[in-house]
C-alpha cells in the first residue's frame, strides 16, 4: 500500500508542478487532469471509492473539460506571446497565496482532530453514509449550494439569451 501511495503522490505532485510551469495552456490543463487523477487515486487508497469516482466525474469530466473548452476558444494558447519569465511578480504573489493556504491546512491537520475520527474500513458503506449525512446533518449547506448553482445556471442562460436575442 505504501508503494502505491508514493507512486500516486509522485504523479500527483508532478501533475501539479507541470500545471503551473508549462507554457502551453492546454498542456497545463492536461497536467492539471493528471493531478486530479492522482487525487482520485489517493481517495481510492483511502477506501473512499465514492469520493474517488466523484472526483473523476466532476473534476475531470466536468471542470477540466470546461476549462479546456474555454481555453480552446481563446487566442495565444501556445504561450509563445506575452512575458516569458516564470518567476515574475505574479508568480511570487501566487506562491504567497499557496503558502498561506498550505499553512492553514497544516494547522488544521496539526490540531489532531482528524486522526480521532473513526476510520472506515468498510468501503461499501460510504455511499449510503454520505447520502444520509447530506439529507440530514448537512441539508442546509447542501441546499444552499444547490441554490447557488441554480443561480449560476440562470445567469449563464441570461447571458446566452442575450446573445440569441441580439442575433435575431
Amino acid at each position: 500500500m505504501t508503494t502505491a501511495f508514493w507512486i500516486i503522490s509522485a504523479v500527483t505532485l508532478l501533475g501539479a508542478v507541470l500545471a503551473v510551469t508549462l507554457r502551453n495552456l492546454v498542456h497545463c490543463v492536461l497536467a492539471l487532469i493528471l493531478f486530479f487523477l492522482g487525487i482520485a487515486g489517493h481517495y481510492f487508497l483511502l477506501r473512499a471509492d465514492f469520493l474517488g469516482v466523484v472526483q473523476i466525474l466532476i473534476y475531470i469530466g466536468a471542470v477540466a473539460v470546461l476549462i479546456l473548452f474555454a481555453i480552446m476558444l481563446t487566442r495565444n494558447v501556445t504561450g509563445t506571446e506575452g512575458p516569458r519569465e516564470v518567476f515574475g511578480l505574479k508568480w511570487w504573489s501566487g506562491a504567497a497565496t499557496a503558502a498561506i493556504i498550505g499553512a492553514l491546512v497544516l494547522a488544521a491537520i496539526r490540531r489532531d482532530e482528524l486522526s480521532k475520527l473513526p476510520t472506515s474500513t468498510q468501503a461499501n458503506s460510504s455511499v449510503l453514509e454520505i447520502g444520509k449525512l447530506l439529507v440530514t446533518d448537512w441539508v442546509v449547506p447542501f441546499e444552499a449550494m444547490a441554490v447557488l448553482l441554480t443561480a449560476a445556471l440562470i445567469g449563464a442562460v441570461v447571458i446566452a439569451l442575450e446573445e440569441v436575442l441580439r442575433r435575431r
Binding site: N24, V26, H27, L30, I33, D49, F50, V53, V54, I56, L57, I60, G61, A62, A64, V65, L66, L68, F69, M72, L73, A123, N124, V127
Partner: protein
C-alpha cells in the same frame, strides 16, 4: 475476481497466496482484453454487413467466407498505413489522444456482469464508475481535435465536448431510477434484482413504465455519448469531414475507432444490465450450466442492442448541433426528472397493477406534452398547391 479467488482457495488450497492473487487478477483482465476487442472486430463486420443489407448491398464478402476475415484485413491495412502527423500539430497531444481514447473504453468492461456471478470487478459503485470513466473519452476527443490544428477538427472537438457533457446529465438521471429501485450502485446487484419472475424475464426493468422510459432515455444518451447516428455530429462527415479525427491516419485512427466502438459496446452492455435484465433469461439460474447460459443471454442481448443502434444508423438522418442540444436539455432532461418521480410513485403505490397503469399513462401524457411544448408549431407536414 473474488469468485475466482475463492474458487482457487477451494480447489487448489496448496497454491501460494501471491500466485492465487495473481491468477485471480489475470483471468478477468485477460478475459476483458481478449473477448471485447474480438467483439469489437466482429461488430464492425456485422455493422458493415447489416448496413449493406439495409441498403440492399452485400457488404464485405471478399476476405474469407462471408467476409469473416475482413476485420483482420482492415487491421492489417491500418497497421501498415503511413502515420501522418500535421507539421503544425501539437505532436505530444496528437500522439496521446488516441491512447486516451481507448483506455476508458476498456476500463468500462471491468464492472460489467457478463454472466451469473461473473463480473471482473464487483465495484459497489459500478454505475458511477461507468459514468466517471466514460467522461474520460471526451478528453481524448478534445485532445485529438485540438492538437490537429485543423479547423474542422476543432469544430468536431467543440461539438464532441458540448455533446458529451450535455448528454451525461439525462443519462445519469435515467440511470437513477434503477438505482432507486434496487438501492444499489453495483451493476451486479442490479442484475440480480432483475432475476426471478416468469422465465427470468418478467422482472426486467424494461417492463415497468419507468423502466421503459429510462431504457429509451439511457439508449439515447448512450448513443449520443458514443457519437452514433443520429447524434454523430462530432464526426459528421458531410459537414466537418471527419471531425476530431480528420488528421489521423493509420493505427491512430484505428485506435479512435476502437475506443469509440468499445465505448458503444460497453454502453450497450450497461443498458442491458440495467434495463434488459442483464444476464437473466430462461435457464440462467440453473445450477452448473447457468453461468454459460447467462453469459449467452448477456452477449446476445448486447448484440441485439448493438443491432438496433446499427439499424438506426442505417435509417435516420443526423440532427443539427443546436437541435441536439435543445433535445438534450428540453426533452430528455425534463423527461428523465419526470421519470424519477414516476419511479417514486410506482414504488409507493400499494397496487402494482394500478401503479403500472398510472405511471404508464402519466409518462405518455408527459412525453406528448413535452413534444407539444417543444415543437414551435412550424415543423409539420405540409400540403402543396398546384399551378393548373
Amino acid at each position: 475476481m473474488e469468485t475466482i479467488y475463492q474458487l482457487l482457495q477451494t480447489w487448489l488450497p496448496n497454491l501460494p497466496e501471491p500466485i492465487m492473487r495473481l491468477i485471480s487478477f489475470a483471468v478477468p483482465i485477460l478475459f476483458v482484453i481478449s473477448v471485447f476487442p474480438g467483439i469489437f472486430a466482429y461488430t464492425t463486420l456485422i455493422e458493415r454487413k447489416a448496413l449493406g443489407r439495409i441498403q440492399n448491398r452485400l457488404g464485405p464478402n471478399r476476405v474469407g467466407r462471408w467476409g469473416l476475415l475482413q476485420p483482420i484485413a482492415d487491421g492489417m491495412k491500418l497497421l501498415t498505413k503511413e502515420d501522418i502527423v500535421p507539421r503544425k500539430a501539437d505532436k505530444f497531444t496528437h500522439f496521446l489522444a488516441p491512447v486516451i481514447a481507448v483506455i476508458p473504453s476498456v476500463m468500462l468492461f471491468a464492472v460489467l456482469p457478463v454472466g451469473s456471478g461473473l463480473i471482473p470487478v464487483n465495484l459497489n459503485i459500478g454505475i458511477l464508475f461507468v459514468f466517471a470513466i466514460s467522461t474520460g473519452s471526451v478528453l481524448a476527443l478534445f485532445m485529438g481535435g485540438w492538437a490537429s490544428r485543423n479547423k474542422f477538427s476543432l469544430l468536431g472537438a467543440m461539438r464532441a465536448v458540448a455533446q458529451v457533457v450535455s448528454y451525461e446529465v439525462p443519462m445519469v438521471l435515467a440511470a437513477l431510477v434503477v438505482v432507486m429501485a434496487t438501492g444499489s450502485l453495483s451493476l451486479l446487484t442490479i442484475a440480480q434484482a432483475q432475476s426471478g419472475g416468469f422465465l427470468n424475464i418478467s422482472n426486467w426493468f424494461v417492463f415497468q413504465p419507468w423502466g421503459f422510459v429510462g431504457f429509451v432515455l439511457f439508449m439515447i444518451g448512450a448513443m449520443a455519448e458514443s457519437a452514433r447516428t443520429p447524434f454523430d455530429i462530432p464526426e459528421a462527415e458531410s459537414e466537418i469531414i471527419a471531425g476530431y479525427h480528420t488528421e489521423y491516419s493509420g493505427f491512430k485512427f484505428a485506435l479512435f475507432q476502437l475506443g469509440e466502438y468499445l465505448a458503444s459496446i460497453a454502453l450497450a452492455g450497461v443498458t442491458v444490465t440495467m434495463f434488459l435484465g442483464g444476464y437473466n433469461g430462461p435457464g440462467s439460474h440453473l445450477p452448473y450450466v447457468g453461468w454459460l447460459i447467462s453469459m449467452g443471454w448477456f452477449f446476445s442481448k448486447m448484440m441485439g442492442v448493438i443491432f438496433i443502434v446499427i439499424w438506426i444508423r442505417g435509417t435516420w438522418p443526423r440532427v443539427r448541433v443546436d437541435q441536439l442540444m435543445s433535445f438534450a436539455w428540453k426533452m430528455l432532461l425534463p423527461m428523465s426528472i419526470i421519470n424519477i418521480f414516476a419511479a417514486a410513485l410506482y414504488h409507493f403505490m400499494p397496487s402494482k397493477f394500478l401503479a403500472w397503469v398510472v405511471t404508464a399513462v402519466g409518462l405518455l401524457i408527459c412525453w406528448w406534452g413535452l413534444a407539444k411544448l417543444n415543437s414551435d408549431g412550424e415543423i409539420k407536414k405540409r400540403t402543396y398547391r398546384y399551378a393548373n
